[in-house]
């Protein structure tokens, strides 16, 4: 059954969209990630214009993050002051990203930039995660090795404008969280992702936050930044396709619940290796598209260059 998407102006199979939402939702429930980094490239692959894929991807991330944050709030695993500082940075980054995205679209380089960002960030994160998991697995098999401290003092703790974050047990400068938030907001706007895959490692290794509040706090920030990004894209470029978003969300929220149930049966280290392989796979696919000679060298875009 075909369904016509009013903003994307194309007709797509209904079950294909529900399926994409479902599979990505399943993976996001399984690994505890937002899934934006999978949804947006998949939408590219089925022929949704990049600008619409990115804006609608951001809308889908709002739904999956709302679904996830409620459980975290109940567990008191959200550091609200830290969340607000990250959010302040995130809104600035997102506004900058939406502006930059419009400039790139005008210059005809938006596909390239989005693809390069995906290859760079997914490749980097995938490799780091893969390496960490391999090391962790080895250590688990060989007890008695050195244990790394989760919270170490580094250059971050020497910066001014310090603030107390009780839930995280931190007394640090607001500059690093602002910068992390801004970077994530920027990526949300240009890649249509929540940015959890950048923010979670940054919160643990850069800010030294305890793991128990990391997921909840990052989800809190992601909801508001992706919500802001969605509205910005809708207002500046009319690129949010509500029909597409609803179908992805329906598939996604159902898939996420099943994923969450399966994830309880797998070990954390195994999960992380699987996730890192998935991330690397997506990065490799996009990199190949850039490196191999495309079958059609020409692309056509309605409208004139400004």
């Amino acid at each position: 059954m075909q369904i016509f998407l009013p903003i994307a102006d194309i007709s797509v199979n209904l079950f294909l969209l529900l399926g994409i939402g479902g599979v990505v939702g399943f993976l996001s429930g399984l690994f505890g990630v937002g899934g934006g980094f999978l949804i947006t490239p998949l939408l590219f692959f089925i022929g949704i214009p990049p600008a619409i894929a990115v804006a609608t991807g951001a809308n889908q991330v709002v739904a999956s993050s709302v679904s996830g944050v409620l459980a975290q709030v109940k567990r008191k695993a959200v550091d609200f002051p830290m969340g607000f500082v990250l959010l302040a940075g995130g809104l600035v980054g997102s506004a900058g990203g939406v502006w930059f995205f419009a400039r790139l679209t005008a210059a005809g380089q938006v596909d390239l930039f989005v693809q390069l960002s995906y290859v760079l960030f997914l490749g980097l994160i995938g490799l780091t995660m893969f390496w960490e998991s391999v090391v962790a697995l080895r250590r688990a098999n060989r007890p008695g090795g050195p244990i790394r401290r989760s919270h170490t003092h580094n250059w971050v703790h020497g910066l001014p404008f310090k603030m107390k974050f009780r839930a995280s047990g931190l007394y640090i400068s607001v500059l690093p969280p602002l910068a992390v938030g801004a970077l994530v907001g920027f990526l949300a706007a240009i890649m249509g992702v929540g940015g959890g895959f950048i923010m979670v490692p940054a919160m643990i290794y850069l800010l030294g936050m305890p793991t128990k509040v990391v997921i909840g706090t990052s989800l809190f920030q992601i909801i508001f930044v992706t919500a802001f990004t969605t509205v910005m894209h809708a207002v500046t470029a009319n690129t949010v396709d509500m029909m597409l978003a609803v179908l992805l969300i329906i598939g996604g929220v159902v898939g996420a619940q099943f994923g969450a149930q399966v994830s309880g049966r797998l070990k954390a280290e195994q999960l992380r290796i699987l996730l890192s392989l998935l991330v690397l796979g997506v990065a490799a696919k996009i990199a190949l598209d850039l490196l191999l000679r495309p079958s059609e060298l020409y692309t056509i875009t309605p409208g004139l260059l400004p």
Binding site: S67, L70, G108, M242, M243, L291, E296, Y298, T299, T301
Partner: protein, 252 residues
């Protein structure tokens, strides 16, 4: 008085004898794009009306269906530092979003180049590409690429010998409109040619519009983008909250 009328009639007769005109109709003159729109098929039918016996030479029919035109930017990828990047671009003043030609014979046999120029019938003629040669080294290649890309996705079609012409008077043709239609006014032109010369032409219009939910969402996104954006958010929040609440209930 009578003589004058007779004289006029006599002088008009040769013109009348040469004239053959088309009467034609469409199976529908509006197409609604609704959520389950999968494309549409339009039947174009007609007849040749004559006031005198047909002159010698084979009669042919050419039918064009043209979607709303927009300016187009065509970009070419080149290998730069190992990756394929959009480099040169050419702007084409106006190209139809959809263009289908159906004929009773091979176009080059039934239409002269002068008549094609005058009526802009073939696909390259329907595209207005003025002054593109200054924009890139191989500007005509960009134009060919535009036609190639649009032909491969079904937007530009040339269906030679697809019009059925019976007894030299009745003709019919089915034109398939694809699912990825742009809304707007579609112009149907029917040409009657003899020996490559256009004998008569008529124009009909098809109004292609988004309807129902499609219309509502599209208008809202353009007229009230802020409300549209907030509504998208509301749906996302309700769906996210609803799903986790529903599954909690199910687990109990």
């Amino acid at each position: 008085m009578i003589r004058a009328a007779l004289l006029w009639l006599l002088s008009a007769l040769p013109a009348l004898a040469a004239s053959e005109d088309i009467v034609a109709g469409l199976s529908q003159n509006r197409v609604s794009i609704t959520a389950d729109f999968e494309g549409s098929e339009i039947l174009i039918y007609g007849a040749v009306r004559r006031t005198a016996p047909a002159p010698p030479g084979a009669l042919h029919v050419i039918i064009t269906v043209e979607g709303p035109s927009t300016p187009i930017t065509v970009r070419k990828k080149e290998r730069t530092a190992g990756i394929w990047i959009n480099r040169e671009s050419v702007q084409i003043a106006s190209a139809p979003s959809f263009y289908a030609i159906s004929t009773t014979g091979h176009l080059k046999d039934i239409l002269t180049e002068t008549e094609n120029l005058r009526h802009q019938i073939t696909i390259p003629r329907a595209i207005r590409a003025v002054g593109i040669s200054q924009q890139a080294r191989n500007a005509p290649e960009f134009l060919e690429a535009l036609i190639r890309v649009r032909a491969s996705d079904g937007s530009y079609r040339l269906n030679e010998r697809s019009v059925q012409f019976t007894q030299g008077t009745l003709f019919r043709s089915d034109v398939v409109l694809p699912a990825n239609l742009t809304e707007g006014l579609y112009v149907v032109r029917i040409f009657l040619t003899r020996d490559g010369q256009v004998v008569d032409r008529i124009e009909r219009q098809i109004n292609v519009r988004k309807e129902g939910l499609e219309r509502f969402l599209f208008n809202l996104s353009r007229d009230q983008p802020l409300i549209y954006g907030l509504l998208s958010l509301l749906i996302a929040v309700v769906a996210g909250y609803g799903a986790s609440a529903a599954f909690r209930l199910l687990k109990r």
